[in-house]
Subunit: 394 residues, 2 copies
Amino acid sequence: MARSFFSHLECSRCARRFDPGTIQTFCPECNQPLLAIYNLSEARKHLNPRMLSDREGSLWRYRELLPVLDDANIVSLGEGWTPLIHTRRLGERIGTPRLYIKEEGVNPTGSFKARGLCLAVSKGVELGVRSMAIPSAGNAGGALAAYAAKSGIEAHIFVPHETPMVNKEEVAYFGADLHLIEGLISDAAKKMNELNMGGKWFDVSTMKEPYRLEGKKTMGYELAEQFSWTLPDVILYPTGGGTGIIGMWKAFSELEQLGWIRGKKPRMVSVQASGCAPVVRAFTRKDKKSEFWDNATTIASGLRVPKAFGDVLIMQSIYQSGGTAVPVDDADMIRTIREVAAEEGLLLCPEGAACVAAVQKLRKDNFLSPSETVVVFNTASGYKYREVLSSLAS
Amino acid sequence: MARSFFSHLECSRCARRFDPGTIQTFCPECNQPLLAIYNLSEARKHLNPRMLSDREGSLWRYRELLPVLDDANIVSLGEGWTPLIHTRRLGERIGTPRLYIKEEGVNPTGSFKARGLCLAVSKGVELGVRSMAIPSAGNAGGALAAYAAKSGIEAHIFVPHETPMVNKEEVAYFGADLHLIEGLISDAAKKMNELNMGGKWFDVSTMKEPYRLEGKKTMGYELAEQFSWTLPDVILYPTGGGTGIIGMWKAFSELEQLGWIRGKKPRMVSVQASGCAPVVRAFTRKDKKSEFWDNATTIASGLRVPKAFGDVLIMQSIYQSGGTAVPVDDADMIRTIREVAAEEGLLLCPEGAACVAAVQKLRKDNFLSPSETVVVFNTASGYKYREVLSSLAS
């Protein structure tokens, strides 16, 4: 049996093929992300859901549908296969009793970023990459630093000065090279590109490298498996770079082609901070892509992303699924962190709390009905947001 | 099929039986912990390891060997089934290439305490308990607060003033009642007992309540399953209250009776801080129990336990297994946190780092041979120890 049914890379816009045996970034013609394509008709003959049921409790249970060819290249810290928690009391209070939280905070380095960077580093090892660089709002930098440490790859992390201290500390502990930049993640990216003249470092920026998406798509596989190969009605996802929303939408398409799921796919809801909501604005305008958001500001550091490189694919996922996009105020995130902690014993990150607050909004607006199954992603451990939480603890 | 093969409670010393249908604490005659006893000869007829392989990724995969009778009483936040990570580079450097870290930091509330408190709260719900109290060095208090929040039980947490701020904050967020006490966990326990005259709160102190141990024993079940129903040669465990070491030793005995493992059991190594090492001192003196350690001091808050109520059982586990007890200086913990982060991408807590440092000591002393399989427990997320880490980041 094949270990991976990975076939090739193709441009998400022009469908031009790219050789997966060498290092690739994005389509230079379209300036759009590349997607990993699998031989799913072949996979369908060899794989079925029952074969997965007794596999290891990590995202590597979907081994054949991930792009790493040789097991020896896998760099793993135990990422993925995170709990899906039925938050019944919370759900009943806000009128959606079938409310679940997918708790991504228990990933290595305490955030969902581990999934993507695990794949980027593992595939990087396979392709002979020796150094990587990333602009980050915080958690992605920490995750790259950890996987780079384990693999022996050199890592250069560019983060805004305002990035939470915990992210700066973790990068230092993992032995990566930390660059603090005035401004936002977009400024960090600029500075990185300046210093990376000649491309001595492999740039693993969100969606400018094809394999982080493959790590993130496993959130979609896991949801399907945890719901016994059905899917929820609605998924709310906090959207910075948006790899998760794109990845899950890709996963659902792959699962359909595999014949493992059927019927209606979830409505994908992008949740952003009111102080940085380029996707919400684009959705309101019915645009196909977003515009740069000036003066981004929010306590949710993961949402301080003024424009996502993969915005076209984010918007497609929302439109195709019949979803929507919701802005949430910082004050509502804070209130929700308190409520969910006291009610469900879960310490959410502001980004996850934003999604719970969005459920309340959408229930009031009747976008959500009481009988629907709703999944919210808590993308990072609340314990990584102590600067926010401490300042609020009264 | 029975949902639980739980039979009754008995005193770990005099073997007197106690009714599991009512609230129990410890044996009033012997002043020793009670143990949960299962009908394992019956369980053996109905259960086998293959039946577990496709179960949920939490400690509830061992459902029938846990004391909760009715599923409706389970209060779960996704605890257990934590990664077992082969730390090859670290192991090769220190001369034990078959070195594994069991990463307990990805449990709910970021520590291994979730396992025990999950069971104490779930069984408490089953027995109609409405309020609980606990003296804690920090993480146990946070875990109780979380499970109490989810269950609706009222919780009173007594911690030393010196407890890390994160533990005080999490308790406040989870809506529990926080009491800050001058002194150590032993002083917190005294104060709690003063205020709890009449026993209005159910005391879930380590080993004074019989079910936390049942949650902790699942670490032993998981190790056996993750190593395909064999066991490692040596286990190093940071010992505060010692429930884990006692629980794993109990698990291995149960697994033998079930016929799921055979042969030699692991040598159990208790690791403590040089500044608070009552178990190490007792081992050196070949004593059956420990004496109170005066002026306990260490950066590892989980090891600031001057005397464990379950010390007799801890010493038995060490002696019966041919284990040992090792003290580690704070400076060695700090050095080790740095080394393991840079080498393996894992941010250990000081207690886990103490165990890695102990591996180095024991390898030098030839207690460990290079061919042996060694497991170290990282009992909490390094992200919960930012006060320690920040002060050290240079």
